[in-house]
Symmetry: C2
Subunit: 141 residues, 2 copies
DNA sequence: TTAAACCTTCCCCTAACCGGAAGGTCAAGA
DNA sequence: TCTTGACCTTCCGGTTAGGGGAAGGTTTAA
C-alpha cells in the first residue's frame, strides 16, 4: 500500500504521515526499490488512532504516549487515565478563558450602537486600564 | 523613554514591542544617536491598547484593525462592532468544540478503572472507528 | 575606571500543519 | 513504444505570537 492509500484509509494526509514519521511519532516504514513508502494495515490503524487523538484535542506528544500505551499490553490503565484527565483539565481551563473573553465582549458589543457614528464603548473599554469590572456588569459602561 | 520603560508601562515586553514594530502593527519610532528607540506616552497607550486586545483573544491582525479605528475619528462604530462580533463567533465555536471534546473524554474517563490493570475503555474508544455515539451516552461503552 | 544594567540586531525554537517546486516512478491508453 | 497523468520523493518556506540567547554597543552610578 502506498502513502496515498494509507492516507485515504486512515484519514491522515500523506503530508502529515511523512511529518509524523519525521518527528518520530510513528516508525519509518519500509520502501520499494524506487523509494516509495510501503504501508501495512497495522500502520493504518496506528495513523487512525493518532487521528482520533487529534480529533479529541490531544497534542501529538500525548497522542504518542497514548499510542505507546495502546501497544503495550502490560500497561496500567491508570497511566492512560492520567493523560486523559490532564487533557480534560487543559480543555476546561481554555473553555473558562474563552468564556471570560466572550462574556466581556458580548457585554461591550451590546452597548455599541453599531451605526455610522464614531462613538463606541468598545474602543473606550479597550483604552481604559481594566475590564475586570465588566465581568458581572448588567448595564452599559 | 527607552523601550524598557515603555514595556513596563504598557505591559508589553520589549521583545514584543520590537516585533510589533517589525510586522508593522505599530509605526517605527524615532531613535537616539546611539540607535536606542524613543517612546512617547502616545506610543505607550497604543501598546497598552494592543495588549488589552490580546487579553481579549483578538489576533494581532484584528488588534491592528481596532487600533486603526481607535485612531480614526471619522470611524463608524458598526465597523468596530463587526470585528468584535466576528471574534465572539470564533470564541463560541472554539468553546463548543472544546466542550464536545471534554464531554467525550469525561465520559470515557469515568469508565476507566484507573488502576494497575491494562484493560482500558479509553484506548478501546480511540481504536474504534467513531466516538460520535459517545455524545449522549450515560453508561459506559 | 569599572561593573551593572541597559540597548541593538541576528538567529534559532516552539505546534501542527499547508503549499508548492523540482524531479523521479508507474500504469494505462493510443 | 511512447506519452500522459497520477503518483511518489525531498526540500524549502510560511503560518501565530511570541521566547531564549548570543555578540556586541551604550549609559549610568559607584
Amino acid at each position: 500500500m502506498n502513502i496515498g492509500d494509507a492516507a485515504r484509509l486512515s484519514g491522515v494526509s500523506a503530508k502529515m504521515i511523512r511529518y509524523y514519521e519525521e518527528v518520530g511519532l510513528i516508525p519509518s516504514v519500509s520502501r520499494t526499490e524506487a523509494g516509495y513508502r510501503i504501508y501495512k494495515d497495522a500502520d493504518v490503524y496506528k495513523l487512525h488512532f493518532i487521528r482520533r487523538c487529534r480529533d479529541l484535542g490531544f497534542s501529538l506528544s500525548q497522542a504518542g504516549e497514548l499510542l505507546s500505551l495502546w501497544g503495550n499490553h502490560s500497561r496500567q490503565s491508570a497511566d492512560v487515565k492520567s493523560i486523559v484527565e490532564s487533557h480534560i483539565n487543559d480543555l476546561t481551563l481554555k473553555i473558562e478563558e474563552f468564556q471570560r473573553m466572550a462574556s466581556i465582549l458580548t457585554t461591550l458589543s451590546a452597548c455599541c450602537a453599531g451605526n455610522e457614528k464614531p462613538d463606541c464603548p468598545i474602543l473606550k473599554a479597550l483604552y481604559l486600564a481594566d475590564t475586570s469590572h465588566l465581568q458581572d456588569i448588567e448595564s452599559c459602561p
